[in-house]
Subunit: 178 residues, 2 copies
Amino acid sequence: MKLYLIRHGIAEDKGLGIKDEERSLTKEGRQKTEKVAQKLVKLGLSFDLILTSPLVRARQTAEILIAEKLSSQLEESSHLAHDGQISSWLKDWLEPRNYSQNTQLALVGHEPDLTNWAEILLWGTELLIGGSRRSEFSEVKASLVLKKAGMIGIKLPETGSPLGRSQMFWLTPPKYLL
Amino acid sequence: MKLYLIRHGIAEDKGLGIKDEERSLTKEGRQKTEKVAQKLVKLGLSFDLILTSPLVRARQTAEILIAEKLSSQLEESSHLAHDGQISSWLKDWLEPRNYSQNTQLALVGHEPDLTNWAEILLWGTELLIGGSRRSEFSEVKASLVLKKAGMIGIKLPETGSPLGRSQMFWLTPPKYLL
């Protein structure tokens, strides 16, 4: 099974009386996301399902992917909102569905959650430095850079837990897809 | 500083009386590598220097990048041959050169060495599972998939050791560059 973790496009700024969860994509964010989606179609990608965070900017990003025919199925999941835990998503959402090996799912969400999910899939845990969480070192940046409208491709193992046993085969900023 | 770790293109098989270090790119390997190089030029990439493993298939890959004008500088380094250690390369090759912050280097080499170098740059160590080396688990695959003629883009921190403090911003198989 393959997961494509996609970060929402460029959204309007916080703090203009708009709640964070209601921030919309800007015109630029919408256009860039459309171009990325068109390129993904050209590259031959399609998804059995697009699962999105319920926040407006993620939902709008997912709707662009649907409009460009990358999938016909769209669902929302609060697991993909801020601070969603991948262990809960695996247990409560993915496992009960019993998808076949060749399923391709797109997950549209936020940072730093998506790269955190990727790290846990690849290494089984958040990355540590000398036994401490990487995020405790203010001068140390995240190990993976996921830009807005960028994506990460991860292959889950055919059997057993995906935690620490998955493989990353793709990580791209949108600029290399335009 | 940015490092682009590039795996050599498709090479002829072992065991036809050809020494491993003398294996050449196949016609398909050469053509695919040329297409990837042309796409990298289109994406606006260029390298201050291309450093290559001395093995023929890597050297030929690097020469294609030079022919397509991705760089005018080519050097060989045995650090990039099989089992080369990134700690030695950093200490003996990179540090003495005192490159400026905006330097972009391409390193052409082999697997599993390149993804091993990437893991060490991102996480400071080979990845462990329950305290054991991932490679000791025969059923567990490498965490990063680097195809022939594929590449990994890594940003080193501006100050301090790059070990465990670098960021991956790009990982792509050649099929998404053709």
